[in-house]
Symmetry: C2
Subunit: 224 residues, 2 copies
Amino acid sequence: MPKHSRRSKARKSPEIARGYHHGNLRAALVSAAIKIVDKRGPDGLTIRRVAQQAGVSHNAPYHHFRDKGAILEAATVSCITAMIDAMRHQQHKTRGNSLDKLIAMGVEFVRFAIEHPAEFRLMHRPELRKSRDGCCGGTPTSPVEAASANGRMLLLETVRQGQKAGEIRAGDSDMLVLAWWCLVNGYANKVLNFSHGRPCDGERDPLEIARDIVQTLVDGIEKK
Amino acid sequence: MPKHSRRSKARKSPEIARGYHHGNLRAALVSAAIKIVDKRGPDGLTIRRVAQQAGVSHNAPYHHFRDKGAILEAATVSCITAMIDAMRHQQHKTRGNSLDKLIAMGVEFVRFAIEHPAEFRLMHRPELRKSRDGCCGGTPTSPVEAASANGRMLLLETVRQGQKAGEIRAGDSDMLVLAWWCLVNGYANKVLNFSHGRPCDGERDPLEIARDIVQTLVDGIEKK
DNA sequence: CATCCTTGTTGACACTGTCAAGATAGGCTA
DNA sequence: TAGCCTATCTTGACAGTGTCAACAAGGATG
């Protein structure tokens, strides 16, 4: 019995749409995974649910991903990339000097975390970064680290432009990027994990607080 | 058949050692949980393993904890308390002004995270903070939040002392504590999750980097 | 003593990740 | 065209999981 008479969309279209039975399952699985993570949290994601959401049997994913971790990894890379794109957009959009850009990017970081909490938490699953060798400085080996490195580059570029323009104090730009990242990421974590979405400070807008916090750092790195 | 002829240690000793069959299982389960988390990570913790490690049947824990999350919660509270104690010790030990104390406490925070990575990660499981109402400012409702609040108080106290002594710029002390926490916690996360225990910056000691990063913040809050 | 309630046990259930083996179908050589 | 190959997907099975229900043990209390 031909149980799976999948909709025959774009069967022989000249478009990329290759793939055998499904169209391309791999992408469908990744987006299903993100959808599930958004709705039920990272722990609510099961291979079987992903498969069901994509309309395939519970074992189909194993032909595209080594194991559950590999699905999570692919979903994470997708989320990180989306976040970096959003920050890059802010970087371009913001008028003003490099310090203004750093603040805007920090706010965007926090906004993304608040709007996509489950996806943001996905980025912090340490089990996704198992690659044996290679550190931040070296060549990243896991896809997740590779994606993260893009974000770091974006920031580094901004800081160095600021240093060249005399807006940011000279010195170790890596350190400044690290401090920015720690602060912003730390705040996003705080908002998400410790306050049920509300900031510590009563009724103030978390994004406003994020701006103030980054400003505090900027006060420390600004060239006087 | 009396299968469980537990060692009869302190059966009728006048010490606290109350409890019915086991001695006191609750504490044994918590410490077993921490041991397992340390060895196999948070995801390696299963109720059945905890029970086995404590030498009881797979369902015994349910008489002390509502569900798996409750065990994790208790273990987390224990870890948070230990970390705060370590920071408090640094606060007292450090000679120098409040800025020095803040730096020392930040380094201690990172040291704890590096030395107890699994326990540290435990503190960031959002599913442990389910309490319905109550924010940082209000009365914390979950045990984990209550424990965290102690750490916040410790920092707040340090910052306010510094402000009173004219070492730290006046203003919103809550905000400064928040910035400190975000930065330090963000860095600890970075070291643990993104670099396999090694800092971004080549071969430098993570604790040294932690010191520099907090110093960057301190530069921003110091009263000039 | 008998009784109760806390603590612990065994047994069962649905659900999980993953392995193994079979089915399907497009692309290949002949 | 026929027939095989291989990637893809399915069904079936297994051990391990969290949790519920029912039962047993044994201090506490009368």
